[in-house]
């Protein structure tokens, strides 16, 4: 730990807890609280990674969540940022994006071939000859990309939760803490978050040599602690902003979807680099990065440093570095006028040479380009261009850049805050914040410490007033004043290039220049063409620099210029955070346990899990389904219909409601009887169907399709309110289980179990009775969906298993077996019954589906009636018909959605098809040209393989057209 400083007041490391870890196979020791980056730097390791394109050595650069060239991976995780990730005992990590190892990366030769890979080269090459493209693609894919995901490793669970607060404060620097304290008295529930492991923002690392800021930080934190309504949460990033102050907060193990009533953004600024030859060498870093190393981790960033400054902060850094025992070789100020304050005198007083109006033209690299050996300075002319022939060479092992700031405004921009460039401060500033959103501190262009505190107080007062906890007052924000903190053009050209604007993607100054020359001269186009800002740091270091280049090359000012659109996430987060715990609601009927025990093969039907069929050892799926169909036709079967929508409707206005909602008539439906009901929308399109049962004068029970139950219930609720009807609606879909006992033996099995008289005369076809089955209260109805004598039994969900067990036992001697959805579909197909949404689509009219009989156009009114009265006069474009294939037809079997073709034109499609074990042939329903709907017509069906098969149009129902099976008297 050769670079570790003496213990500092306020440092983040715990020197009593040494931590041992490995990097690139070498063992190192750090302290608890160290990040991988700080611990390695303390151990004298300055090469932490390789750059994306040229594989140049890279070290610590920004040290604030955006060091994208210092990313490491372990056996369990990849792309961990070394500047953020804390070291852990026994941790073993290696750099990403290397071939071989970090030191001897076999791709480092790419640095010498930069001339062959200019900006946009991948758009201009590799596409001819075409046959070689797969080869190129393969090679490029091998080289490109950061880190590798090990899909064999177990998935780590990241908690996703919801959070709530009155005021969210992003950033715990002076403005954020001050805002929080201001809001506390109002009683607001306040959450302060900070992406760093410790609060304080700039107070935690700047100007420590004076001691004042750390003391102030502690005072503020003490005040915060005394406020029970303020919660301070470190290591938490506000990574995305969505409508109505919905903020995505991410930490290592958690993603919180936080709803705040108001948001104060006090997120500070990102320091901006200068552009000069070799500005990426390990040892060249932002001044704030160096200060963080010193003050947070007690690590000496360099021994002999040249400071490149364009603001007062650079001078303060010089004082801090000196205090930390670093030899400040010189301070190079880009400004010709230098620093007009006491700071310059103080710096000079320490014997530090100040070069006004100069720029670092070049950093001199060590032999392996893994260190800084010195810098070459040039003076600047009035146009901020480095003059030739005036070079000064200085020896140093580090460069600290303090040339400007850009607001950390990702959340503000995502919240539609209008940001505009201010030529006074040479940075973007919030001009008009979104409703309920407030900016404070540096992100708001306020730099003086006292002003930041005041700005925070004002923001706090405005936020509490916004949420109505205090009366709106006239908060007087401190003025944005003083000399610019950012230099308007800290960019120097160099014939050898390698003066990087974007270190993520190795975008050099010449790449930007060439892109603009090629016409990509707007920020959005420039980004896509040059990949600028498309790396992990999302342009936080580079966007502003590139924008300055665009303005300069177009001969324009920065006024009115905008950077690219800000979108979530403000910083990269792991895919695991996005995946998190997955909720996929799944419904099961109350008989689910019994189906499982009977070997059901389940299928998804909407969000329901239903038995597709019941497996039988030695039989295929088709054989199982056919056996179930035959059992119903010949003996008796039972199917779970719990998924049916069920709605109880009561009240004096039930009849008017049903008459208006359904196309049929229900006013005269007798008590104890049921009737088919068809529902259309306003355009006459079929939307649902079901059975309407009258239980009493003002009490009905209706069923809907499984998928339509919620929609129908909601529609009825709306209509009851709109039409001001006195109707009580109860969605009973989950309340009642339903099962259909069907087959010739149905009556014999059921009669001993129920107090309802099942005699044909007492309980006719389409009747409904209330009574009990196996002592469970039940509603029994005689319906004909599967075309056999059958009883639909509806009973309370908690009694379903009790009844099912008794029925199954009673039916054993009669051959009772359960049947699944597939058998039910075939049974109803044999009867020619349609299934709404399978045999209809979003445009199907009742006339097309052969449902004319269910439409009573002479009723005074029903929904869709007017549309149907218009379209019924028009010629049909398609019609649903039954068809069959010859008994001896061999495969290939047509499938649902295979097209019906006539004269090369599509005339319809198959909606249902299957092999009928009863009829011994393939039967189905299909839409076709009305001209081909007569019995005996031929349909040409195009199969999946492009071949055609002919099918005969036949009359439906395919089975038992006289409905005699319903009149079985035994």
């Amino acid at each position: 730990m050769s670079e570790r400083l003496e213990k500092l007041h306020g440092e983040w490391i715990d020197r009593s807890r040494p931590i041992h870890f490995q990097f690139e196979g070498e063992s190192y020791t750090g302290y608890a609280g160290d990040t991988i980056g700080s611990a390695l730097w303390a151990n004298g390791v300055h090469v932490l990674g390789r750059s994306f394109k040229y594989h140049r050595p890279r070290g610590i650069f920004g040290f604030a969540d955006i060091d994208c060239n210092a990313m490491v991976e372990s056996d369990s995780a990849t792309n961990m940022r070394a500047d953020l990730t804390p070291i852990e005992e026994g941790m073993s990590v290696r750099a990403v994006n290397t071939l071989g190892n970090l030191k001897k990366d076999r791709l480092r030769f790419l640095d010498y071939f930069g001339a062959f890979t200019p900006v946009g080269f991948y758009y201009k090459a590799f596409h001819t000859p075409k046959r070689l493209f797969p080869f190129y693609e393969n090679q490029i894919r091998k080289i490109a990309g950061l880190g590798k995901v090990d899909t064999q490793k177990p998935m780590k669970s990241v908690i996703k939760d919801y959070g709530f607060c009155d005021i969210l404060i992003i950033g715990s620097g002076p403005a954020g803490l001050s805002a929080a304290i201001e809001t506390a008295a109002s009683g607001a529930k306040v959450l302060i978050i900070d992406e760093n492991p410790h609060p304080g923002g700039t107070l935690s690392y700047r100007y420590n040599n004076q001691g004042r800021e750390i003391d102030l930080l502690n005072q503020l934190l003490e005040k915060v602690k005394t406020c029970k309504n303020i919660q301070l949460q470190s290591s938490t990033l506000a990574s995305g902003y969505y409508a109505d102050h919905w903020i995505c907060l991410t930490s290592k193990e958690r993603m919180t979807k936080l709803r705040a009533r108001s948001v104060i953004v006090a997120s500070g600024c990102y320091e901006q680099p200068a552009v000069f030859h070799n500005n990426d060498l390990p040892g060249v870093m932002l001044a704030s990065a160096a200060l963080r190393l010193i003050n947070h981790y007690a690590v000496k960033p360099f021994r002999h440093v040249v400071i490149l400054a364009a603001n007062a902060d650079g001078y303060r850094c010089a004082l801090d570095f000196h205090e930390a025992g670093i030899h400040v070789v010189s301070l190079v100020d880009l400004r010709r006028e230098g620093e007009q304050s006491e700071l310059e005198r103080q710096v000079k007083g320490l014997g530090i040479t100040v070069y006004r109006g100069h720029f670092i033209y070049e950093a001199i690299a060590g032999r392996m380009k893994d260190s800084v050996q010195g810098v070459i300075l040039r003076d600047l002319d009035a146009d901020i261009i480095a003059n030739e022939g005036s070079e000064i060479k200085l020896s140093c092992d580090g460069v600290a850049m303090s040339v400007g700031w850009t607001p950390a405004d990702g959340i503000l921009r995502q919240g539609n805050t209008r940001m505009e460039y201010d030529t006074g401060l040479e940075q973007f500033l919030p001009v008009e914040c979104a409703n309920g959103m407030f900016a404070a501190g540096r992100v708001n262009g306020i730099y003086a410490l006292e002003d930041q505190l005041e700005d925070g107080r004002c923001a706090g007062a405005e936020a509490t007033a916004f949420i109505g906890l205090t009366k709106p007052g006239k908060s007087k924000r401190p003025p944005r004043e003083g000399s610019p903190q950012s230099h308007p053009h800290p960019i120097s050209d160099h014939p050898k290039g390698k003066n990087f604007i974007d270190l993520d993607e190795d975008v050099q100054l010449k790449d930007i220049v060439n892109s603009i020359k090629e016409g990509y001269d707007s920020p959005e186009l420039l980004k896509r063409y040059s990949t600028l800002g498309m790396g992990p740091s999302q342009g936080k270091h580079s966007n502003l620099l590139a924008l300055r280049m665009v303005a300069r090359m177009r001969g324009e000012t920065m006024m009115g210029k905008q950077i690219t659109t800000a979108r979530p996430f403000t910083s990269p987060i792991s895919m695991g955070h996005l995946a998190g715990r997955i909720f996929t609601p799944l419904r099961r009927t109350s008989l689910h346990d019994r189906h499982e025990a009977l070997g059901a093969k389940f299928m998804y039907a909407g969000n329901w899990l239903r038995p597709e069929y019941y497996t039988i050892d030695g039989l295929t799926r088709s054989q199982c389904i056919e056996a179930e169909v035959q059992n119903v036709r010949e003996r008796i079967g039972i199917v779970d219909q719990g998924t049916l929508g069920k709605i109880e409707i009561s009240g004096p206005d039930v009849v008017p409601l049903l008459e208006r909602v359904y196309t049929g008539r229900f006013a005269k439906l007798k008590i104890g009887m049921t009737r088919y009901g068809l529902m259309c929308d306003e355009s006459g399109v079929i939307i649902d169907d079901g059975v309407i049962s009258r239980l009493a004068e003002d009490r009905y029970y209706i069923s809907t399709t499984s998928s339509g139950s919620d929609a129908v219930y909601q529609a009825l609720q709306r209509l009851v309110i709109e039409w001001k009807l006195e109707v009580i609606l109860v969605n009973a879909t989950s309340t009642y289980c339903a099962m259909n006992l069907a087959g010739p033996h149905a009556r014999k099995v059921l009669q001993p179990l129920t107090d309802v008289n099942l005699d044909q005369n007492a309980f006719p076809y389409l009747g409904i009775r209330e009574g009990s089955v196996a002592d469970v209260p039940a509603r029994l109805s005689r319906v004909g969906f599967v075309g056999e004598l059958g009883y639909e039994i509806h009973l309370p969900a908690d009694g379903a298993i009790a009844a099912w067990d008794v029925i199954m036992e009673a039916g054993r001697d009669y051959g009772l077996c359960p049947f699944g959805v597939e058998a039910q579909r075939m049974l109803r197909l044999e009867k020619g019954h349609i299934i709404v949404s399978q045999d209809t689509d979003g445009l199907t009219l009742p006339f097309e589906a052969g449902m004319n009989w269910a439409i009573k156009m002479d009723k005074p009114f029903f929904i869709g009636q007017r549309s149907l009265s218009i379209v019924e006069k028009k010629q049909r474009e398609r019609i649903l018909v039954g068809f069959s294939l010859p008994e001896n037809y061999q495969s290939p079997e047509p499938k649902e959605c295979n097209l019906v073709i006539k004269n090369g034109e599509m005339k319809g499609r198959i909606t249902s098809i299957g092999f009928s074990p009863t009829l011994g042939r393939l039967i189905g329903l299909a839409y076709t040209d009305p001209e081909d709907s007569d019995v005996g017509s031929i349909l040409r069906i195009k199969l999946d393989d492009g071949s055609f098969v002919k099918a005969n149009v036949v009359k439906t129902p395919f089975y038992d057209p006289e409905n005699s099976r319903q009149r079985v008297s035994e």
């Binding site: 669970s157 979807k257 799944l586 099961r588 009580i728 989950s734 009642y736």
Partner: protein
């Protein structure tokens, strides 16, 4: 009374539990010692209480009829009141009420019998909800991971919201002086929601407990 089944019964059959019969439904009374479950219920625990009888009453005459039956009527919508040492009534709408009995209580069964299929202006609403109970000082964390409603410790109203994307009624209350959330939802989502919630409860170090640890004293205590 027929033999009732909880939609969750199968979820417990592989666990060691002492079973009991509550209102004709077989339920796990406890999985562990009373002391252990008592500790869990104060820390974090989840329990199936679907066995408690439920009844809905709806219609313009509902309030008057219930009042006539001697049941206290909550003033506001989503407010609730305990009665008969453990039963509860919740007002879901101006003319809609939900009643749930406690272990061993007979009020709801008797009321249900008297209501029958309903009569003019008073309509019966059959309730077959799955009922859960999540309790303990960390019960908030379970809801925070599944529900986007900001529950407040002082809240004493029923909240209609969604838990793990399933529509759910939730009542925060104090049960044996422990922060507790009562959940009611469609039994068709019972297994899904039980599995989702128990996974989170177990991840947080909580446990599944039987009904006995909660209902020994048959008393709900209102927060305020």
């Amino acid at each position: 009374m027929y033999k009732r089944h909880s939609s969750l019964k199968n979820q417990f059959e592989k666990q060691q539990a002492e079973w009991g019969n509550i209102h004709a439904m077989e339920v796990p009374l406890h999985f562990d010692s009373h002391q252990s479950e008592s500790t869990s219920m104060r820390d974090l625990a989840i329990c199936d209480v679907s066995s408690l009888p439920k009844l809905g009453v709806k219609g313009r005459g509902a309030a008057a009829w219930l009042s006539g039956e001697g049941i206290p009527i909550p003033n506001g919508i989503y407010e609730w009141l305990p009665f008969d040492q453990g039963a509860m009534i919740i007002r879901l709408a101006p003319d809609e009420f939900f009643l749930e009995d406690t272990m061993g209580g007979e009020w709801v069964a008797n009321l249900s019998g008297r209501l029958g299929r309903g009569f003019d202006g008073v309509y019966r609403v059959e309730r077959q909800d799955t009922g859960l109970l999540i309790s303990g000082k960390r019960s908030h964390e379970v809801l925070a991971q599944t529900c986007s409603y900001p529950f407040d410790d002082s809240e004493e109203k029923v909240v209609m919201t969604r838990v793990a994307l399933v529509s759910c009624s939730i009542l925060p209350l104090l049960l044996k002086e422990v922060q507790t959330f009562r959940l009611w939802f469609s039994s068709t989502y019972g297994i899904y929601l039980w599995q989702s919630l128990t996974e989170i409860v177990e991840d947080l170090g909580g446990k599944t407990v039987g009904v006995k640890v909660y209902f020994k004293n048959r008393i709900y205590i209102k927060v305020k």
